[in-house]
């Protein structure tokens, strides 16, 4: 079993990231992007800076300009970014699409995209979810029919994270079988300019970049196929597990910050002539939140290290982390609003941004109940 403690290098990375976030990425940035109805929902300039700091390339080999590090390191950076809800496209670009290419893509595909992804110049997004699929990765209705020497893709993908403005998409489509079959799912690399592909920005409660991908006979050549035809589910599952762990790291940062802000408020808000944090009714709830967050931290550290090591029970640990982080993120965010009282209900105050992001994160890649069911399945009951 790996050590559940940060190495010196990881400590250093955490400090660099915390300093960067403190000076460059306040929550006010998220508000400004929202108020401007920014189509991208994040800052390309800041993304480029993050790439220059080496963060975008953390889980990519040095041959593509990456750092050759693992998810334990990426998690440290994502936790720091999560503290101020930084909306840059790590999950979509670095983890989902990037890792799909790295794990299953051809050398030509990797060479064409990964160096530009790592340098922050190319944006990739990942389109698997559909209206009927909920969290079930196996449920793919979008079809990819053979046409000449390539494929024609038709269907609709929703909740494509950072889909608006992406240069290309990794799309899950069915080359054979029925809608819920495990076999017959294939992954394709589809450039944004492909005729028959249309991307429509969605506005969700956290105002981050999400999109609908309309595919109407979008034609791609044979070499757009990522991995083997009909065998895409394993890659899909593997990269979504990585993305869940990465999302949990972000959630850990966000819930820690929401809690810290609430704690500060409890110590400084005076009512009845005393700090409201002196009331036992609030103290015990604060202590409960602290306990839950500590357990989240252990679960996240355990999950990313198990994934890096390829442990047999990594999937189970990913579910432990996501179930915990989903419930705790919502607990902390709801309690944060309640404990802030009236001011917490105003749009002017920042605590509401934490609540909205927590909700989206909770209902991405499976909520707590879904991951408990997955744990039960993996344990054979």
């Amino acid at each position: 079993m790996q050590q559940l403690v940060l190495s010196e290098d990881q400590e250093l990375l955490a400090k660099t990231a915390a300093d960067f976030v403190a000076s460059r990425s306040p929550v006010a940035r998220v508000r400004a992007l929202r108020d401007a109805s920014d189509p991208l929902g994040f800052s390309r300039a800041l993304w480029k800076e993050m790439a220059e700091l080496g963060w975008v390339g953390i889980p990519f080999p040095e041959s593509y300009g990456g750092a050759g590090m693992g998810f334990a390191e990426l998690a440290v950076v994502l936790e720091a970014l999560g503290r101020t809800l930084a909306p840059e496209p790590f999950l979509s670009c670095v983890v989902l699409a990037g890792q799909a290419l790295l794990r299953a893509g051809s050398e030509a595909q990797q060479r064409a995209w990964l160096p530009r992804l790592v340098s922050g110049d190319a944006l990739l997004a990942f389109a698997s979810q559909e209206r009927e699929s909920r969290y079930d990765l196996q449920r793919v209705a979008t079809s990819a029919r053979r046409q000449g020497d390539g494929f024609a893709l038709s269907g609709e993908k929703i909740a494509v994270q950072d889909g608006a403005g992406a240069d290309a998409y990794v799309v899950a489509a069915r080359t054979s079988g029925a809608v819920a079959d495990a076999a017959g799912i294939s992954l394709f690399l589809v450039p944004a300019a492909t005729p028959g592909l249309r991307c429509e920005r969605q506005w969700r409660v956290d105002s981050r970049n999400a999109a609908i991908l309309h595919l109407e006979g979008a034609r791609v050549p044979q070499d757009a196929l990522i991995g083997r035809e009909g065998e895409g589910l394993a890659t899909l599952e593997a990269v979504v597990d990585l993305a869940i762990a990465a999302l949990c790291a972000e959630m850990l940062g966000s819930m820690s910050e929401a809690f810290a802000r609430t704690l500060h408020y409890l110590k400084n808000r005076l009512q009845f002539g005393v700090p409201i944090g002196s009331f036992q009714a609030l103290k015990h709830r604060a202590a409960q939140m602290f306990v839950e967050i500590e357990l989240c931290r252990s679960a996240v550290m355990g999950a990313v290290r198990a994934l890096d090591a390829g442990d047999a029970d990594a999937r189970k640990l990913v579910s432990v982390a996501k179930a915990r982080c989903s419930e705790t993120a919502m607990l902390v965010a709801h309690e944060a609003v309640q404990m802030h009282g009236g001011i917490g209900m105003t749009d002017e105050h920042e605590i509401g941004f934490f609540l909205k992001r927590a909700r989206v994160a909770e209902l991405t890649f499976g909520d707590a109940a879904w991951h408990r069911a997955r744990w039960a399945r993996l344990c054979g009951y």
Binding site: M1, Q3, L4, L263, K267, S278, L282, K283, S298, A376
Partner: protein, 402 residues
Amino acid sequence: MADLEAFRSDLQRFLAQNAPDAVRGLVVTAEGDGNWGGRRATYDPPEMKKWLEVMAARGFTAPSWPKEYGGGGLSPEETKVLRQELAAQKLPPPLIGFGLEMIGPTLLRYGTEAQKRQHIPPIVRGEIRWCQGYSEPDSGSDLASLKTRAERRGDHFVVNGTKVWTSYGDLSDWIFALVRTNPNAKKQEGITFLLIDMASPGVSVRPIKLISGKSPFCETRFDDVRVPVGNVLGEIDGGWSVAKALLGFERNMIADTFGTVGSARSEKRGSRLANLARDHGLGAGDALSDAVVRDEIARCEMDERAFALTVQRSRDAARAGHQPGPESSIFKLYGTELNKRRTELSVRIAGPQGLGWEGPGFDDDELLLTRHWLRARGNSIEGGTSEVQLNIIAKRVLGLPD
């Protein structure tokens, strides 16, 4: 590292030659199982006595304690190897109890040279069994309000009062007790930590029956018990800090007990709760037929796993040289609440078969479910209630104002 491997192979040889076959594979199933030692020790199987003797001779009953007092003098790495080898060879600990876990470490920190020489070697050899005299009938969570008096008469104290929840008081040889030596001082400042030989005239012990039935708990009375002044651990009137240090050791022991529940190793035997459900009509095939029960089992197991990871994180941080982090403050609270949830869920899974008290119609495991559920209610009361733990976290860790 080479030294460590040499230590391991020596140890393997030693264990192979000296461990009696009869003790291999013994598992702890009930509260109080295992070898607690003491003057009234009973050894089951009888070979347990030899196992204790061969291990104690090398100080392996207290592996990390200094050699000069009979301990093993092992480094943390060697202690870990010893634990691994015992587990690998399915050997039970040769000795357990409050001497090793609570009063021993406290004596090593606060004891005089004479006290260490008097008390530590008999603990290591399992000759003296200790119990704890903290709580009183009128002093539960407010421990510092304790009233048991110790009045100075020359070179002795005369002790009068009643201690309650003295686990195994009826089987113990010595008791470490908190007594009031200065009734006029602030409540925490008039308390002394006293070591009392339970064979002294005036000590009487009465067992307590719990809602779960027979229990190790006792009430221990002191009527004009004479105790030499030399038996004070730490300073007279300065016992509160000693008492708190010992509570820290006690919480470590509790974390050890509960933190292993959800480890990867304990899961390899399959889901015990799911098997319990299958045995009680909730599904014959793979998936359980009751989705709610399935969800509750998963929640319980996943929380146990997260808790085990937290215990591991704390240990890894300590080994890496970090100060104990805030995570250690949650062990008592979360570990006991988890155990309550598991035992509670087990009874509900067993349904009508979870209702047995004794007699026909229930197998032994089913009868234990009932008892464990009832007994576990006490987990979040003994050793500091959950509410007190939340107060401690709010104050010490979060810095919330009084």
